[in-house]
């Protein structure tokens, strides 16, 4: 029993959950609106896409390093299939397959340069992100377009609709939430119950040891980036369908908040550490901060300041912890 408590206290996720509870109580006391049903549902709706992106960021960080290309991969692939859907009569599931294929190709490009040449993943993904940006805006004149016919049903598919008795405000949960749940379940199964999942953690922790242990480091790494491209494309479609239109510009710069979220959730940027629960909680916390700042009377202008402080504090705490554990280990030796 004592051991369990100690383990929980040592978990980053525990502290994030604690912060969430404290913040929620604070907002509730201050505004009295936090635990209203509509606010909770709104919150879940708001974090769906970032939670999906968080998977990309986490896989990349755990196995290799930064991936900042997912928002533009999402933006470009979604924009392309929406244009196709508006002008042709291709059914929705083929369009989704096309988007996934585009995402996978972008992922292949990332993976190729990172695996074959051992380039810094931040720089490679920044380049692909730039290229996707150029394609979406230059070649395809990225303007705002509405959801085409094949996606109309998904766009207006709400799985839950609630109305708060106190305020009369209502909120609905979009079907994309289910997509997120399915992706998290798949990710959980792969990470915790397959050899590939073990390999992702192993190559991030210590590449040479992983290679000696018989993991195909290059194949796994390449695979991670291809999967990231695919998840990004799915996240992009969800985002566009939830907001009922697609403008590639809206995706631009979306990686920051996602990386901040997973860092808060305990994903270590040096690789090898990170959990899905942490990812989700981190995303939830940041979603809460940006959704609720106005509720407690803080101007929206302060949102980025908060975000910056959270990233810096989260990263500093993680860094201090890492240095300390290194010191303990060297003392033992």
């Amino acid at each position: 029993m004592n051991k369990t408590i100690k383990r929980v206290l040592g978990m980053n996720e525990f502290y994030v959950a604690l912060i969430i509870v404290i913040l929620a109580t604070f907002i509730q006391v201050k505004s009295g609106l936090f635990f209203a049903v509509n606010n909770i549902v709104d919150l879940f709706r708001a974090i769906v896409v970032n939670a999906i992106y968080a998977l990309c960021a986490m896989f990349a960080f755990v196995s290799t390093g930064a991936d900042v290309s997912f928002p533009m991969i999402a933006g470009m692939s979604t924009y392309i299939i929406f244009r196709l859907g508006a002008t042709t009569s291709i059914p929705a599931f083929i369009l989704v397959l096309i988007a996934i294929l585009i995402g996978a190709i972008c992922g292949c490009v990332n993976g190729f340069f990172i695996v074959k040449y051992h380039f810094n993943s931040l720089i490679v993904t920044l380049s692909t992100s730039s290229i996707c940006y150029g394609i979406a805006f230059g070649a395809l004149k990225g303007v705002r377009i509405s959801v085409p016919e094949p996606f109309a049903w998904f766009s207006s598919w709400n799985i839950l609709r609630v109305t708060s008795e106190k305020t009369g405000l209502s909120a609905s949960l979009h079907g994309a939430f289910l997509v997120m749940v399915v992706l998290y379940i798949l990710a959980y199964l792969v990470l915790n119950h397959t050899m590939v999942g073990r390999a992702i953690y192993a190559i991030g922790g210590d590449e040479i040891s992983a290679r000696r242990a018989g993991f195909h480091v290059d194949k796994i790494r390449f695979g991670v980036f291809v999967v990231n491209g695919i998840i990004a494309a799915i996240g992009g479609i969800c985002y566009a369908c939830m907001s009922r239109n697609c403008s590639p510009m809206e995706y631009y710069g979306g990686e920051m908040i996602v990386i901040a979220a997973i860092v808060l959730g305990g994903v270590r940027l040096t690789g090898g550490h990170g959990s899905l629960l942490g990812c989700f909680l981190g995303t939830f916390l940041l979603g809460m901060v940006s959704n609720s700042l106005t509720m407690i009377g803080v101007s929206v202008y302060y949102q980025n300041v908060f975000l910056g402080i959270i990233i810096i504090l989260g990263a500093s705490i993680a860094a201090i912890q890492a240095t300390r554990s290194m010191r303990v280990r060297s003392d033992v030796e």
Binding site: N120, I123, L126, S129, M256, N304, V305, A319
Partner: protein, 321 residues
């Protein structure tokens, strides 16, 4: 010894590319390109991201990266613009100088914060500067209420001043590049900078004060960004929190083109400075082609970066054999 030749080759390669580009542009575009006015524009435009790229190069030599340069520049620009408005609405020289001084000090402090996070707290540089980037961006939004701040009329003259037909900003860039070149290649500090980048642990054991060296590198980057912010305030006559967000990509591209190794330890300033000019010449040349819009440029930079890194990979590999 081998290091010396390698560094020179980076600078030389960029110089050859620059000359080839100028000849190519001159032949294909003729007098429209080879005019004094065009070169003045080139000189004026490159200064802002050129200074930031020099700062990034300093960070990259120590094995880090500085993603916050653009937002340090915007923060300092916004601060200076606000101070000038309240203290020197008619363009009193004292107020302007004070505002500039404060902006430069703020730039140093911002850089110092980066350096502190990287060297003392040991946050990975990418993440530390990502966090401060968001923080500085946020502070600028708060300062400006999310709108753009216009510059006072008198300060606009600063960027449009010509010295013997050479724009003043370009002279500032050249002077900064020369000073930094000397610091990096001919002083003990420059040697320590490289040593920390190659192997921080070995540097610490051989008596280098890593914290001081890294902090100094990031502070230099902050200072250069602040200067860039002031120049951009003067040139564009206004400042906005998200101005120049595409410069982040450009500065990284320039530093890598100029011979910096993202993993640290390699890189000299002359190569980077020449790469700045090369990129601006390419950009100016693309401007003369009507069907190429700004967005293609972004894609081209991405391709260039990947292509150049691949090229260097094979060069280094070939030499090792």
């Amino acid at each position: 010894m081998s290091k010396r030749t390698r560094l020179d080759s980076d600078f030389l390669r960029m110089l050859i590319i620059l000359i080839a580009l100028l000849i190519f542009a001159g032949v294909t575009r003729g007098s429209a390109f080879m005019s004094v006015l065009n070169f003045q524009t080139i000189g004026k435009q490159l200064t802002e991201y050129g200074l930031m790229a020099l700062g990034l190069a300093m960070a990259m030599i120590t094995g880090g990266i500085d993603l916050s340069t653009v937002y340090i520049a915007n923060l300092c620009g916004a601060l200076a613009a606000l101070m000038m408005k309240s203290m020197a609405p008619q363009g009193q020289i004292g107020g302007i100088l004070l505002a500039c001084g404060v902006a430069l000090i703020v730039g140093l402090i911002c850089g110092g914060l980066n350096g502190f996070l990287v060297s003392v707290v040991k946050v990975p540089p990418m993440l530390a500067t990502l966090g401060t980037y968001e923080l500085f961006y946020g502070i600028t939004i708060v300062l400006s209420n999310g709108k753009s701040i216009t510059s006072i009329a008198a300060f606009k003259k600063f960027a449009s001043t010509m010295v013997f037909k050479v724009p003043l900003p370009f002279i500032i860039f050249v002077v900064a590049a020369i000073i930094l070149s000397i610091i990096v290649s001919a002083t003990p500090f420059g040697r320590r900078l490289h040593l920390v980048g190659v192997n921080a642990k070995a540097a610490a054991f051989s008596g280098v004060n890593n914290v001081k060296v890294i902090t100094m590198a990031y502070m230099t980057s902050g200072l250069l960004s602040a200067i860039a912010g002031l120049i951009s305030l003067s040139r564009v006559a206004s400042v906005k929190a998200d101005f120049g967000s595409s410069y982040v990509m450009m500065t990284i591209l320039i530093a890598v083109l100029g011979g910096c190794d993202p993993n640290g330890g390699w890189g000299e300033i002359p190569g980077v400075a020449t790469a700045v000019i090369v990129l601006q010449v390419i950009s100016a040349y693309l401007n003369t082609i009507p069907w190429i819009n700004n967005y293609y440029r972004q894609a081209l930079y991405g391709l260039l970066l990947l292509g150049f890194m691949t090229y260097k990979y094979y060069r280094v590999k070939g030499r090792r054999r």
